[in-house]
């Protein structure tokens, strides 16, 4: 409720600023709009923006820091034994206190220190909210007053407003960069902490992976527990299986769509493939675990092969299906970019359609196709839900697709989901794996995107 009131207050203040600016601009020229450099609306917008921007900054600061500060104060007032609790339990306790304060947890069995803390929590929240409202009003009012004083007939408010908007546009466009920096820094930072406990060489080249054993304090970093090679090979195996499905099927359907299909067939098949691309990965995962996995196991049993119920084959096959539309739509675009004149040249010497495709179109489109396959590989490596649901957890070092293997993404999920201590090597290992995943997919993407861009430029 508080947020709604705050929002209304901010909007009201801004609207008021707009009106003031507009009126004052008109007032300075006695209503003769022509004497103003900028339209009165721009003067209004100028004042409104000067009012809005500081207010928004304050609100965001509150959103980010309020909980941290309140909890920090609250913890210092707790009994010492509670202060010494590990972080995860402390968090639970703070949650409970918040619930008591909100009245959602009632009863006579609550410890008195919790009730005291809850009372303090309520007070702190109240103070914080009051402080926020006061600060918002002051900041808005000061901004408004300062901006208002600048308005005159010759004041170029349009320029100022446009400059402010432009700055906001620039800030928005850098958010993408900040995201990348955030990803790199957070992965690096946590991975460094991991490598302080486990050597990087052992992580990258060790053959034995059993992070669960490291839960016991005396085993943290014990030899052999964090060798990630079986995970990498498992990822590679599943990726390869999926590519064996997706590349031939995706490429051939792209060729058919681009070179043979009538517009009517295209009109039907293309949306169907798009549906295949739009199915959430969790649905594919469910499909793999519920239908494909058991089917392959039963089929293996019937021909006398022992197949794990969470085999690499099942996960790879379904992942391949998921990637078919990805390969086909990228390749379709690429093949369509090959100029018609090349096809005409081949037809004119008497080549059949398939000869034209195989010997002229595909070689001409090859860089682009390779690029799109690389993108597909990167996508397969980073795909999570299918493998989480259909591939196994055991880190087997094997090339046998009928056995269970595990992948980088599966391990990240298993290491981080559930109760966790954030500082243990086990959870930090997830970030090391995440770093490897990010770097590998980034390299693939950069290569693929460069190749595809060069290819497009060639035929533009």
């Amino acid at each position: 409720m508080n947020t709604v009131i705050l929002l209304i207050a901010i909007l009201g203040l801004t609207a008021y600023g707009y009106q003031i600016g507009r009126r004052r601009a008109l007032g300075t020229v006695n209503g003769e709009r022509r004497r103003l450099h900028s339209l009165p609306e721009y003067h209004g917008a100028y004042v409104a923006l000067w009012c809005l921007v500081p207010v928004v900054i304050i609100v965001f600061a509150w959103l980010i820091f309020e909980t941290t500060i309140i909890n920090g104060i609250l913890v210092t007032s707790l009994p010492t034994e509670q202060q010494a609790l590990p972080k995860s339990q402390l968090e639970l306790l703070l949650n409970e206190i918040a619930n008591i304060a909100a009245g959602t947890r009632q009863g006579a069995d609550i410890d008195p220190y919790k009730i005291a803390a809850a009372r303090q929590y309520s007070n702190l929240s109240l103070v914080s909210t009051g402080l926020q409202v006061v600060l918002v009003l002051i900041a808005g009012g000061v901004g408004l007053a300062l901006a208002k004083r600048q308005i005159s007939a010759r004041f170029r408010s349009r320029h100022s407003v446009e400059r402010m908007i432009r700055i906001m546009l620039v800030i928005c466009s850098t958010i993408a960069i900040l995201t990348t920096i955030g990803i790199v820094l957070s992965l690096m930072f946590e991975a460094m902490r991991f490598f302080a406990k486990v050597s990087a060489l052992e992580f990258l080249f060790g053959l034995h992976w059993s992070p669960q054993t490291a839960l016991r304090a005396d085993q943290v970093g014990s030899t052999g527990a964090f060798g990630a090679v079986p995970i990498f090979t498992g990822t590679l195996l599943i990726t390869m299986i999926s590519m064996l499905v997706a590349v031939p099927v995706g490429l051939m359907s792209a060729i058919y769509m681009a070179e043979y299909a009538t517009p009517k067939v295209r009109g039907i098949v293309k949306p169907l493939l798009e549906i295949l691309a739009g199915v959430p990965t969790v649905v594919y995962g469910f499909f793999a675990a519920l239908t494909v996995g058991p089917f392959i196991r039963d089929f293996g049993d019937s021909v006398g092969l022992s197949v794990a119920s969470e085999s690499a084959l099942a996960a790879g096959l379904v992942m391949g299906i998921m990637i078919i539309p990805f390969v086909s739509s990228l390749s379709d675009d690429i093949i369509n970019a090959v100029p018609q004149s090349l096809r005409d040249g081949a037809y004119a010497v008497g080549a059949t359609r398939s000869e034209t495709v195989k010997q002229v179109v595909i070689p001409a489109a090859l860089p682009g196709i390779v690029g799109s396959i690389l993108l597909a590989v990167s996508r397969a490596i980073g795909e999570t839900m299918i493998v989480v649901m259909a591939a196994g957890l055991s880190a087997n070092l094997t090339a046998n697709p009928l056995e269970a293997v595990t992948t980088v993404t599966v391990q990240i999920v298993t290491l981080l989901v559930g109760d966790q201590e954030f500082d243990s090597a086990k959870t930090l290992a997830a970030f090391a794996l995440g770093l490897v995943l990010f770097v590998v997919t980034l390299i693939l993407n950069v290569i693929a995107l460069t190749v595809v861009r060069k290819y497009r430029e060639k035929y533009d």
Partner: protein, 271 residues
């Protein structure tokens, strides 16, 4: 209806070297793009060892017509051709004629040079390879060299046959495309405005080449340039708004055309 009359005219025999053997003849040819009628009732004969130019303003149907002669229009889904085109006594649009076979006999050179993104050698060798023309390795080399020589390109490229064809200049690329067409040993060569993307010097070389090639092939050329038609062709046909208006010996068409529209076009009043 006047074009029917023109077709029945006996041509004037002013060049003794020219035989009067008809290679290809079109009868009542029309072309539709979906519902639009792009070309109507075209009747024309193409003779062996002659260059025939098709002239006319943009959109008159001359390019559409030349693409009928090797069934390139088959590659456009909405395109439908009516009438008949007889080559060596067979209608090329009859069911049993295979466009692939036909195109091996009727080569084509396009408006813009379109070398494959392969080496010069592979560009030429592509046709012979798919048609199984060379049984021994040496023969393929011979075909490549012969074709390049015929296209007057051999001396310029003989030291860089392995380089990509796309690295040549525009005029060289177009001669490469001509060599590519010659390599499958066609009987007819179609050229759809082969010089429109080239500079005057390259154009002169191609025109020279066309005149030499006349000794061995039946050539049909679409051109925008009336001077070019006058320079390279023995016979000329004038198209206007999807109709074949007039045809005859080049000299006759350019000096004394029968139809007012032809006269207007040649003197530059329409076009």
């Amino acid at each position: 209806m006047e074009n029917m009359a023109m077709a029945l005219d006996s041509p004037v025999n002013d060049e003794p070297a020219v035989t009067e053997e008809t290679k290809v003849s079109a009868r009542d040819v029309g072309v539709f793009y979906g519902e639009a009628n792009a070309l109507r009732d075209v009747n024309i004969d193409f003779k062996v060892n002659q260059v025939t130019s098709l002239i006319g303003p943009s959109g008159c149907g001359k390019s559409t017509f030349i693409r009928c002669l090797n069934r390139m229009n088959d590659t456009i889904d909405s395109c439908r051709v009516v009438g008949s085109i007889i080559m060596d006594g067979r209608d090329i649009y009859s069911r049993d004629v295979d466009p692939v076979e036909l195109r091996a006999r009727v080569g084509m050179v396009f408006q813009k040079p379109n070398p494959f993104p392969k080496s010069i050698y592979d560009n030429i060798a592509y046709g012979p390879r798919i048609h199984g023309m060379a049984s021994r390795g040496g023969e393929l080399d011979a075909i490549v060299e012969g074709s390049l020589r015929s296209a007057g390109l051999w001396e310029e490229v003989k030291d860089r046959l392995a380089e990509p064809g796309t690295g040549l200049s525009g005029g060289q690329q177009q001669r490469l495309c001509i060599a590519r067409a010659i390599a499958v040993s066609p009987e007819v060569i179609l050229m759809d405005e082969p010089c429109s993307a080239l500079d005057p010097i390259a154009t002169a070389k191609i025109e020279e080449l066309i005149d030499e090639l006349r000794q061995n092939y039946t050539i049909v050329i679409v051109t925008h340039s009336m001077q070019q038609a006058a320079r390279v062709s023995q016979r000329t046909a004038f198209f206007h708004l999807g109709n074949l208006v007039e045809q005859g010996d080049t000299e006759h068409i350019f000096t004394n055309p029968d139809d007012d529209r032809t006269k207007a076009y040649i003197t530059g009043r329409i076009g």
